[in-house]
Symmetry: C2
Subunit: 199 residues, 2 copies
């Protein structure tokens, strides 16, 4: 016997399918929906369908966009001859928050990961190579995550781009600003020492 | 400048309004929605609207139901002369899971809480008194939470029901099954000693 009415049970199930939401949390969220006004519930539902239907990938950089070119690729103030390659749209948001970078992006939508059966063809690598092959690109900055898979993906792409004679760089490794030396791992400290700069 | 397309930003905002969901979690959930198929996203949205529109309160016990009498009030196998009073529909589900109780319920939808500006008129207390006044009720079991507000609400209702000569009982206090004596608080141990039973 079900202890909640069927429509509520179905909503709990839907919430429970979301990542990181367990059974109890799903119940709490579903009860919260019941406490909303009709308009609030409707606009939540609309936001889901709207985001799913209208968010697409930019045909140039593959970043998420609400149709057509993304704002960055369409901006006349961005340097389109520099491409920063990231694995995820959230990484674009992170770099934009730093307000330091004024070039364009390329979103791979993942990293090469044989463990998870993700190969180069599952990523937006071909579209990156095509962008570089068209010319007019001066530099490609690899900004995949500094872990094994991110590194491997960066190395793979760098090798693919070598024939085009484009400059391929990697984000600097080092101790994070505000971090503590005593908590820095060996690999990070090694890179920080190697790439030390004159004061 | 927004770093995500507007429809995605709106969805992140909607998720961030849910209780217990912070900014980063909201982002993660919104990206998860983008990774669903169109049908999955649509059925999530439908579940929200469906639950909000079709879940109502049972006219008798005020428990949540998908229209009309709730399954418990409508069941010929439940003893309708016994009413278990709980503060929340989730408490009904908890008691039903124990498979021990075969009477009916009454859901208050809250407890008296002057701190949160919740008075007796904001709860389903009047409808409970009306049920008892109609007669045919032999026992009212108070099963509000064993905290200050739950206790005060139970005492308040017990006093209201006294004129009707109905038997009013309270769930037993004691050490929880599977618990450890050393972790039981003083009040619980006191009740457990007072209400000790012959073996």
């Amino acid at each position: 016997m079900e202890h909640f009415p069927a429509p509520l049970e179905r909503l709990v199930e839907q919430f429970a399918r979301l990542p990181g939401i367990g059974g109890k949390s799903a119940q709490r969220l579903a009860f919260h929906i019941l406490s909303l006004t009709d308009e609030e519930a409707q606009s939540f539902a609309d936001a889901i369908v709207d985001a799913k239907q209208n968010v697409t990938c930019c045909p140039v950089c593959q970043n998420l966009t609400a149709g057509g070119l993304c704002p960055i690729c369409a901006s006349p103030r961005r340097e389109l001859s520099v491409i920063c390659v990231v694995s995820d749209p959230r990484d674009v948001a992170a770099i934009e928050r730093a307000r330091e970078y004024h070039g364009s992006y390329h979103v791979l939508h993942g990293v090469i990961s044989p463990m998870n059966h993700v190969g180069p063809d599952d990523l937006q690598i071909k579209s990156l190579v095509e962008r570089v092959a068209k010319g007019d690109i001066q530099e490609v900055i690899m900004a995949t995550n500094p872990d094994t898979e991110g590194e491997a993906t960066a190395m793979y792409i760098a090798r693919l781009l070598r024939p085009f004679g484009v400059r391929v760089t990697r984000l600097a490794y080092g101790i994070p600003v505000g971090g503590h030396l005593e908590f820095a791992d060996d690999a990070t400290l090694m890179h920080a020492l190697e790439d030390r700069r004159e004061l």
